[in-house]
Amino acid sequence: MSIGSVPVKFKVTIDNDRCMLCERCIENCSYGVFRREGQKIVPDSRKCTACHRCVAMCPRDAIDLEEKPNDYRSHPLWTREAREAIYNQAKSGKIILSGMGNALDYPIIFDRLVLDACQVTNPSIDPLREPMELRTYIGKKPERINIKKNNSGDYDLNTEIAPNLKLETPVMIGHMSYGAISLNAQKALAKAVSSVGTFMGTGEGGLHKDLYPYQSNMIVQVASGRFGVDINYLERGAAIEIKIGQGAKPGIGGHLPGEKVAEDVSKTRMIPLHSDAISPAPHHDIYSIEDLVQLVRSLKEATEWKKPVFVKIAAVHNVAAIAAGIARSSADAVVIDGFKGGTGAAPRVFRDHVGMPVEVAIATVDKILREQGIRNEVSVIASGGIRDSADVTKAVALGADAVYIGTAALIAMGCRVCGSCYRGLCPWGIATQRPELVSRLNPDEAAVNVANLINGWTLELAELMGAAGINSIESLRGNRDRLRGYMLDEGILDVLDVKMIGA
């Protein structure tokens, strides 16, 4: 009791003149903020996570929600967050879990890179009238191709092309497992990617049978716990991804607590009901790059060399050297997840302090692969905090072939980034397995929202490319001349290999 309670984070107030006592706020709040007392709705602000479900559902706009209404004496070093983390750990002695992305105020490099546009000479391209080539192939590209004239005067391709994924837009949806998110959320994402001609990841939760109709647009994941992994699962996926690391928690594994392993989740992961799904950081059959090669090839051999295999790593300090090793491992793509990546649950200290921005990781990986003459051996997929089509364009200009989005896709389905996913009570039916909450998400409607988002970004990407006088994504990839650094220091510009603004 020596510490006592901390001030509430959010303050919820009801305008009683507007409220019509419909009680929708009570029904909708899974955190139990609202109760009715006589002719009044009474909120308990302490329970609020600012998920905004009540605000969105109130028919009378009667709910007000404010952040930090009651603050401590201000101090630039001992912020509210710093102090409250200490109170929390002084009471519990435990690791603090948090959700969603990095919550520290690091400068965002994407926002300090500006794109180019053509003016009088070398005019811009009008995407309305001109074909814009956004189709992207993920996988190995041959170093050179051999063609030969045949008897009928035509040319035959004599080079064997490795299996590639064909994307209609360089935007894919990253791996969020069934267990971490609901089946309705996965269905919505699956419908969306099928309709726009791109791909999504299953996460390491297996593939639920309801998603079989979308399997040709799904990338199945193999992580250290091998949950849901068997030969049928591998054969169903369009590609296979080995997860080594994740941007929100580099060097840390996953752990789905037993209480979330409900019947259907247990079936999909192929583990007993309510057993913990522990997936530590290391794959226990990988202790060297040679061992990684063995797993990559084993997955290829099991699926008769018909599927591309990706390797996902977190963006860490020596990411370029690691990626070069992956490029030589027979893998077809390297996924780099930056430290602004979201997650359902990560230790706060990892989420906020480990890893590095994906912008730097893409640039250094692309550069080392080119220097070593192996850029064609792997595609580079960037993820971790991609917020809009400008981020996509900049990521490609820095050297990515495509991006994965995660949080952005969830936001398109209603997520308010309240960061409480690990509690399993997501009021939007996304990061929860409770049937009454899951049913709030209509997979058909949500699929349209996600598809709209990707289509909107794709249109913007075409416009941005057209403005820069580029009509093919191939010509944008790694084209750092279309970027300039604004308020970035020389050191970072050097690492990014991007010129200063005005230069």
């Binding site: 992994v229 913990d276 090839r297």
Partner: protein, 249 residues
């Protein structure tokens, strides 16, 4: 197609070799004999079909029978790294020793190793519905046996050894299944975090009996002697070994 197919694996790369095995299985061959196997990895990787026997003469390379479902493989020789990795069903009988991570994440089927296994045997072994994986080792295991084990049965007999496990961290993070060690007292087992060592009782012996009998049949050991030996059993000390590590933001 003949009932039996003999393949001389000398100098054949694993991909064509596996193609031949798959082709044989598809055309109804009942037994494939692989002669002169020398380090080829991934043999029978992802092979799914019941009722086919594969005999391996020589030393197969890593990830033997990974993702396999159905076949029975007998190896006359040692096996490298991770035989039975993420195996789903079937049987693997190894007349020799194996490297590390044997039966990693195995979900179903049975693996019998006559001699010794390396580090991390049975790591992440898990069970699901009717699938209960079994690993029986005749000799000795090194450290980190049955780590993160989530289901199934792991038996180490320690034949001709002072102790069935030469190393530490037995069952760290175990949250399902059971590890049985012969001829060792509970205080001599260096159990990992979350593991509890108890003396096996009659009921336990009934559980492992069929697998001990199999082992004796495959490798010509004496069932009476084995069944009359003392065993310890290593089980999770709690179903939620890491439940208490976290608090919320």
């Amino acid at each position: 197609m003949a009932e039996e197919l003999v393949i001389d694996a000398d100098g054949i790369h694993y991909t064509p070799l596996n193609k031949m095995i798959r082709g044989a299985a598809a055309s109804g061959v009942k037994k494939v004999i692989l002669k002169n196997v020398c380090g080829q990895r991934f043999i029978a990787n992802g092979l799914k079909c019941d009722g086919i026997e594969i005999e391996i003469q020589g030393v197969p390379g890593g990830d033997l029978s990974m993702f396999m479902n159905g076949p029975e493989i007998t190896v006359y020789g040692n096996a490298d790294h991770a035989p039975g990795n993420t195996m789903d069903g079937g049987r693997l009988i190894i007349h020799g020793s194996t490297g590390d991570a044997v039966a990693h994440s195995m979900r179903g089927g049975e693996v019998y190793v006559r001699d010794d296994v390396g580090y991390r045997a049975g790591i992440h072994m898990k069970a699901y519905m009717e699938k209960k994986p079994v690993l029986v080792v005749g000799g000795q295991s090194r450290s980190f046996l049955g780590e993160y084990m989530a289901g199934g049965i792991l038996v180490v007999l320690g034949l001709d050894k002072d102790c069935p496990v030469d190393g530490r961290g037995v069952g760290s993070g175990i949250h399902g299944g059971a590890i049985y060690l012969r001829n060792v007292s509970p205080e001599d087992v260096d159990a990992g975090i979350g593991a509890k060592v108890i003396v096996a009782d009659e009921e336990d012996m009934e559980v492992i009996k069929p697998y001990i009998l199999n082992f004796c049949r495959y490798f010509d050991a004496d069932p009476e002697e084995l069944m009359n030996s003392p065993f310890v059993k290593i089980i999770p000390s709690s179903a939620r070994p890491f439940a208490n590590k976290y608090c919320w933001e």
